[in-house]
Structures are given as structure tokens and as C-alpha cells.
């Protein structure tokens, strides 16, 4: 009596589980349990010295850089607003002899290879100014004239003929997207020899002379930031300006000591005069923790 009923239950249960297992096998088989490979971010590790040498800007640097990908220039919208409505048409028609493109160096077909000459905003603005004056003087006649004297057809410049973009938008290397005016170096690019060693020598001297109170409860209040101006021979040019504000005798003692140290260490001969532009005004942070860190 009992057994047949239990057998029915067992059969139903086993069938249910088998069906569930089959469903699970089919539905999960499509999705393997393997994680996707992670994206690799390549980084270079360079030392501080290498970095300071990298930022050195030289006017006559060789332009043998690796070709950079051409990108759309997104910044610097002002010249485009001024020039584009007038200078648009003539420049497109004479595209085989486009003033901005072949002017710097005609043999090179692609202007994107030469970042130093390209993004000179003043020269460009002057050029556009000339173009605008000329086009305003003779808006219709001028565009036709340049074509007969320069009939040379360069197959490499078909792309320029087909380029229907606004001529004020010029292809430019990616580095020029930075807000700073592009050059081979950065604006503040220091000479490689300014380096960390000169600053470090100055710091070391100041730290030697600085004599902050010892055994203070929380030394964070002794951090003093001072801006100084220096003359070319390494002396203070005017009184130091304390940038940190603080209260209490501890801070005041540390601040006065720091100012005293700045005066005492005065001719800072370790700073070479050739890089005077960089160190004529510097900010120095006196941090007692640096003394213990070494």
C-alpha cells in the first residue's frame, strides 16, 4: 500500500530533478565561467632626472620626431570666428596651392609632420589678416588668378582638393591640444641642468639653517610656505612673503626661523645664472617632516 505511492512520488521527483538538471546544463553551457582578459595599460617609469631633461625646450631641435596622429583642433576658437566667413571660399578653390599648407615647406605633402612651424598662432593670424585684406579688396577676381600660374597637379594633394572642411580648422598634432602654446618644450620647461639637484642643494642648505622648535606636539603646524624673489647673483630681492597663515608661538617661531634661514643662506650660488628665469621667483615649503625623512 505504502510502497506504490512512495514510488510515484519518487518517480515524479526524479523526473523533476532530471528536467531541472537538463535545463541548467543547456542554459549555462552557453556562458562559460571564464573571466574576460583585462585591458593592459602600458606605462613607462622614468626618474625625476629623466623627467626634467624631457621638459627641456630647444629652439633648434631637430624635427625628426615620430609621426603623430592627426587630430581635430578643438581649442583656440577665436581666429576661426574672425576669419572663416571671409577667407573660406578662396582658400578652398586654390587648395592645390593653399597658403598655409605648402608655405612652410612645399616638398612635404602632409603638414601634420611639422608641429613646430604649424601652430604658430601669431603668424597664422597675420597670414589670415593679409588674406582677408586681399580678399576684401578683390573678392571675386582674386581666386581665379592664382590658378593659371600654378597648374601643377600633385597627386599626393588630391586629399587636400577633396577636403571640404573649413580651412581655419587645421589638422594639428595631439600635443597642440594642450592649452599652452605648443613648442618643442613646455613653457616652463627648465634646462636639463637646473634639475632637481640644484633645487635639492638649495633645500638642503635651507634645511640646515632652519631651526624649528623641537618636541612640538603636532609638527603640522610648523609647515611654512614662503615665496622669495631672487636677484641674478642669488640674493634676496625684497622681503620674503609668507604664504602660510597660522597662529600660536610654535608657528611664529618656525616662521621667523625660516625667514632667518633664508637671509642667512643668502648668496644662493648653487643656482646657475643661465636658468635665472626659472628661479627668480620660487616658493619654498619648510616642512619639519622632511628633516626627519632625510
Amino acid at each position: 500500500m505504502k510502497l506504490p505511492q512512495m514510488r510515484t512520488g519518487l518517480a515524479i521527483s526524479a523526473f523533476m530533478h532530471a528536467a531541472l538538471l537538463a535545463w541548467g546544463l543547456f542554459s549555462f553551457a552557453a556562458r562559460p565561467l571564464a573571466a574576460k582578459p583585462q585591458d593592459v595599460v602600458l606605462t613607462d617609469v622614468i626618474s625625476a632626472t629623466e623627467f626634467s631633461q624631457l621638459t627641456k625646450g630647444v629652439k633648434n631641435a631637430p624635427t625628426v620626431e615620430t609621426p603623430k596622429p592627426a587630430v581635430e583642433k578643438v581649442g583656440d576658437p577665436k581666429p576661426a570666428e574672425e576669419v572663416s566667413p571671409v577667407a573660406e571660399k578662396p582658400e578652398v578653390r586654390t587648395s592645390s596651392a593653399q597658403p598655409p599648407l605648402p608655405a612652410p615647406k612645399p616638398p612635404e605633402p602632409k603638414p601634420t609632420k611639422k608641429p613646430p612651424q604649424k601652430p604658430d598662432p601669431i603668424a597664422d593670424a597675420l597670414k589670415r589678416e593679409d588674406a582677408r585684406k586681399a580678399s576684401e579688396a578683390k573678392p571675386k577676381a582674386q581666386p581665379q588668378k592664382p590658378i593659371p600660374p600654378q597648374p601643377r597637379f600633385d597627386p599626393n594633394q588630391i586629399a587636400a582638393l577633396l577636403d571640404k572642411r573649413d580651412p581655419s580648422r587645421q589638422s594639428i598634432t595631439g600635443e597642440a591640444l594642450a592649452p599652452a602654446p605648443p613648442s618643442l618644450g613646455t613653457r616652463n620647461g627648465a634646462d636639463a641642468k637646473l634639475s632637481q639637484s640644484e633645487l635639492a642643494a638649495m633645500r638642503a642648505k635651507l634645511m640646515e639653517l632652519w631651526n624649528p622648535p623641537v618636541g612640538v606636539q603636532n609638527p603640522e603646524q610648523m609647515i611654512v610656505k614662503i615665496r622669495i624673489q631672487l636677484t641674478r647673483d642669488g640674493k634676496l630681492n625684497g622681503p620674503p612673503v609668507v604664504l602660510t597663515s597660522g597662529r600660536g608661538t610654535v608657528f611664529e617661531t618656525a616662521r621667523d626661523n625660516a625667514i632667518r634661514a633664508l637671509f642667512m643662506g643668502q648668496p644662493y650660488t648653487m643656482l646657475s645664472p643661465s636658468t635665472y628665469d626659472i628661479w627668480k621667483e620660487i616658493e619654498i615649503t619648510f616642512d619639519p617632516r622632511d628633516m626627519y625623512r632625510g
Binding site: Q5, G9, L10, I12, S13, M16, H17, L33, A35, P37
Partner: protein, 229 residues
């Protein structure tokens, strides 16, 4: 850099190599437990439905004014359960006492109640049979699954140490497989616990019903005994 072997103990390495055996044993055992639990659940569902229907039918027949002798005769021909069994047991004791030449009516009331108590206990035992399996699976299933998971994660960490690679691609599959043991344990244990609670309350309700009928029938028989004595 010196590379030391990770598992130096031969006993331990034996276990590590056998990790699949352990995991599969855990998973297979839990799967069988789930099958068995559901078999019991289905069986009990049918049994309780049948018992309830039988009780309803019997109560209808009992209170229909039909002669109890006739009812007894029709029921005692075949083995019966629950309320009918209660009735048959009481009637059998009654008949034995009165058909006996030396009518032992003195302790009849006590004897009938004792017989009905025994029958109720037997019926409840029949209803409750195998419910303990549900309780056991419901409480021990998650632990067994957890054991499989812990074992799987242990071995998976061993393999990580061997491959010396901590990327997610190496760690994740082993841990996912190990967690599957816990999933099976929960899948087996959750229905077991739910249905165990439900069935226990069902059994209690039916036992109450049997007790009520036993009291009523005992009162009827007691009146009969007093009238005949």
C-alpha cells in the same frame, strides 16, 4: 628567488588531488537528498489529501443516522485508516465485551479509551513517517553544501598558489564551482524546511480532528454502556 614546493605533505597532497572526489560526493549526496525530499513531499501531499477526504466521508456516514453495527460491518471487511480505523477499533472492543458470555462491562469504558488512544498514536505515526528526513535535510543541507564550498575554495587557493597568478581569471572559476555546492545545499534545504513546517501543522490538525472524534465516540459508547448495564 627560491621556489618552494607548495604541498610537501604527501597526505595533504593526496587530499588535494582527491578534491574532485570530495566535491562530487557532496554535490551528488545533496542532489540525491533533494530527490528524496521531493519524493516525500509529493507522497505526503497525496497522503494528507487522501486522509482528509476519507475523514470527511467517514464523518458524513457516521452522523447520517446509519446504524453503527452496519457501518462497522461494512468497514471491518477491509483494512482502514484514520478515523475509520478509530471507529473499528472501538467497536471491536465493544463487541468483544458484550458478545462474551461473561460480560465484562466494568472496565469497558477505560478499555475503549485505551484502544482509541493506541489507534490515534498509530495513525499519527503513519502520517508523520519520514517527516524527520525533511527536517534533517533542511537543517544539515546548507552545512553539507558549505563544507563542499570550503573544500573547493581551499583547493582552488592551492591551485592559485601553484600557478603563482592571482588574476581573477585564475581565481574565479574554481570559486564559482565551489560555491555551486552551497547552491545545491540551499536548493535542497529550502523546500525541505518549508514543507516540513507545513506538514507538521497538517499532522497536528488531523490529530486534533482524530482526538475530537475519539472523545465524541467515547461519550456515545459510555452512554450506551450505562443504558445497557
Amino acid at each position: 628567488m627560491e621556489v618552494a614546493p607548495v604541498t610537501t605533505n604527501p597526505f595533504f597532497s593526496l587530499f588535494v588531488q582527491a578534491h574532485w572526489v570530495v566535491n562530487w560526493a557532496v554535490m551528488l549526496g545533496l542532489g540525491l537528498a533533494s530527490v528524496w525530499v521531493w519524493a516525500i513531499v509529493i507522497d505526503k501531499f497525496m497522503l494528507y489529501a487522501r486522509t482528509r477526504r476519507a475523514m470527511d466521508a467517514f464523518e458524513q456516514a457516521f452522523w447520517s443516522g446509519q446504524s453503527l453495527e452496519e457501518l462497522y460491518r461494512s468497514l471491518s471487511e477491509r483494512p482502514v485508516h484514520s478515523m475509520a480505523a478509530l471507529f473499528v477499533a472501538a467497536m471491536r472492543e465493544w463487541k468483544r465485551s458484550f458478545e462474551n458470555p461473561s460480560r465484562s462491562v466494568a472496565g469497558l469504558q477505560a478499555r475503549i479509551e485505551k484502544v482509541m488512544d493506541v489507534t490515534i498514536a498509530r495513525e499519527i505515526e503513519r502520517l508523520e513517517r519520514r517527516l524527520l528526513v525533511l527536517a534533517t535535510v533542511g537543517s544539515a543541507g546548507p552545512f553539507v553544501g558549505l563544507f563542499g564550498t570550503v573544500w573547493g575554495i581551499m583547493t582552488s587557493f592551492q591551485s592559485i598558489a601553484v600557478s603563482k597568478n592571482t588574476s581573477l581569471a585564475v581565481v574565479a572559476p574554481g570559486i564559482a564551482e565551489a560555491l555551486f555546492a552551497t547552491a545545491i545545499g540551499l536548493v535542497a534545504a529550502i523546500p525541505a524546511t518549508i514543507f516540513y513546517n507545513k506538514f507538521i501543522s497538517d499532522v497536528n490538525r488531523q490529530a486534533q480532528r482524530l482526538e475530537g472524534f475519539a472523545d465524541e465516540f467515547s461519550a456515545i459508547l459510555s452512554r450506551q454502556i450505562d443504558e445497557r448495564a
